[in-house]
Subunit: 418 residues, 2 copies
Amino acid sequence: MADNGISRRRLIGTAGATGLALGAAGGAAGYAAAPSDASGASSTGRAASLTSLGTDEVMFHGKHQPGITTPVQSRGHLVAFDLAAGAGRKEAAALLRRWSATAERLMAGKATTGEDTDVARDAGPSSLTVTFGFGHSFFGRTGLEKQRPSALDPLPDFSSDHLDKARSDGDLWVQIGANDPLVAFHALRAIQKEAGDAARVRWQMNGFNRSPGATAQPMTTRNLMGQIDGSNNPKPSQDDFDRRIYVPASGAAQGPSWMAGGSYVVVRRIRMLLDDWEKLGVKDQEAVIGRHKSDGSPLTGGMETTEPKLEKAGADGKYVIALNAHARITRPDQNGGSAMLRRPFSYHDGFDKGGEPDAGLLFVCWQADPLRGFVPVQRKLDRGDALSEFIRHEASGLFAVPGGAAKGEYVGQRLLEG
Amino acid sequence: MADNGISRRRLIGTAGATGLALGAAGGAAGYAAAPSDASGASSTGRAASLTSLGTDEVMFHGKHQPGITTPVQSRGHLVAFDLAAGAGRKEAAALLRRWSATAERLMAGKATTGEDTDVARDAGPSSLTVTFGFGHSFFGRTGLEKQRPSALDPLPDFSSDHLDKARSDGDLWVQIGANDPLVAFHALRAIQKEAGDAARVRWQMNGFNRSPGATAQPMTTRNLMGQIDGSNNPKPSQDDFDRRIYVPASGAAQGPSWMAGGSYVVVRRIRMLLDDWEKLGVKDQEAVIGRHKSDGSPLTGGMETTEPKLEKAGADGKYVIALNAHARITRPDQNGGSAMLRRPFSYHDGFDKGGEPDAGLLFVCWQADPLRGFVPVQRKLDRGDALSEFIRHEASGLFAVPGGAAKGEYVGQRLLEG
């Protein structure tokens, strides 16, 4: 009864053509579009978000996997799997082949092969993306140790870590994003079903962001502390954007060749201690961050895109942006030019017994090399970030996300059949 | 620093005017609009959903509270509070006054009074609704036993109940819905903050529905079993719609006069056993429900709005719609004409240790009298619904939701100052 092979997109074709007149930035949000999780910096990139209704489709095939520079969606699922006992390289290859085929179908708005749950029925692709990664433990379990990139070496311990191992790491990692929660859930369930006997869920987290259209253009998203998030993000218009985010095709120093076009993702579940944070008041919050809360502009003036004037002192002789301000510590030129692309989701899993929301950020950041991206920044934050007393890192993961699959190929094929 | 008094709507005025050309059904979705949680029955009512972008505003003041016939939003929070020890009628009255003022401001896209968290900053009202109700225990704690409606008498026990008392009942209940998850979270946090020392959170649940624009018009939402939900909903176009859903202004048989224009809400957290359900296959699923999964039409033919032919037999001599089919048991004319307006959210709180999603339906239904709405239907379901082996009622609440506040009034004022 499932309409396999029939694109759900066809079902909403009428709406796209006549029901809703889309704005100037019509058309599908291809995954080469600019990230919308950054600040107001990139209004041309952002424009795509406002048209992200059901008909928007992201391409599965390409040089890079989707879900990295795709405008961030309003609903996200992160899920890690461990290979089942007895499953090795062969089973992993078959699994990635199944997962890739499913991702391609669902991202095009089609039903799954086999019996579909119908949860996404009637809906368009809704900018669905499915992204696959491999954890450190994957390579031992599949006899592929020699192919394990050194970039997957465990992250150093940070003093602020309160990590729950059961919600950290994993052999395989899948990121699902969509602008419709039922489309996202449908994909999550389909991916889980395709795992079959080869892998089981290790941990799973749900996140969200601004809905397309809730704010004016350029679309602005905030985290649950009320801050504009990702002001420091590298911009796709920068010459060195690709070099910072993606592993180059050549250059052995960058790791194994199967990672060409890939990226490394650091995932941190960062609990926000909102009761303490909100007691601070806006003035003190701004001192902690080093930026104005209203528009993300540095305390030294300008707009969100203006460079902070770190040397500027106030009438009291002190730095306007304090030495421990988050914006100072995370500023790329304070970290040897390191940079990462933040593409987070917020999370909220109800209230704890003390009446405080179990809420915060599913921090997801992308880089060509974690040792030049996340690690040096987090080391500095760990030593002196004024924000650290208001957050708690509760889970952590680091995954190698290979380049995109060419037509007829599946994600990770160059590793698993190399 | 919070821009109190400045409507956030102004901030996105440009987008509304030029950035996005809305379709034919422009304008705010007033709360007299038809529910969108029902089937494809009411396409004129549904049309409003597709324009539910940031600028859409629902009115706080009116004959009825918002959030009952408002088109269902993509994000929802349900939260129950208990009055603090020592808090009585006076504190409750002050609380409802504060809550009403906050709801009115936020639904108009304004910041809170006092320091705002800024989480909803930049966003429009996004169809935010905030709805308040009183539980059975509220009346004892405030010395208002004489004003307690008999309709609030505890629901009977059902054999399929597996109720968690800690996530059931409560003195006060608040339903928050919005088409943007940050707008909804902002309101939840503001409501919690306003509770101050007068009340503390008893339980809280998060839900979701289809995003506006994800499907064609008429907008269709499904539950996590893949079913179109609410096909039996009474339609606002029906003569007796108001009589079924709202307590009339006069008629002592209907309960105390302070409930005029109000409604009773039954809230059930219904876990779906999705692994079992999905193993069934579509044919067997359709036999359980008595409707086609694809479009919600009865197995006896027609469209979703077609009346099921309950007497029709198949070639095998058996009823086409089985005696225990969900659609037969819940059909209004099988229950003395009882009817309720279902307006649910789906929920998904990660996976349990067995690898099954902790997911299902936050069933929310509205009626003038639970003894003629929810109770008789649930009694019949309890005895012989084929669906019952695939679901589990895990939490329950019943609340008296008074009529809407007139200008200058707060919700519940006629009770608390009566």
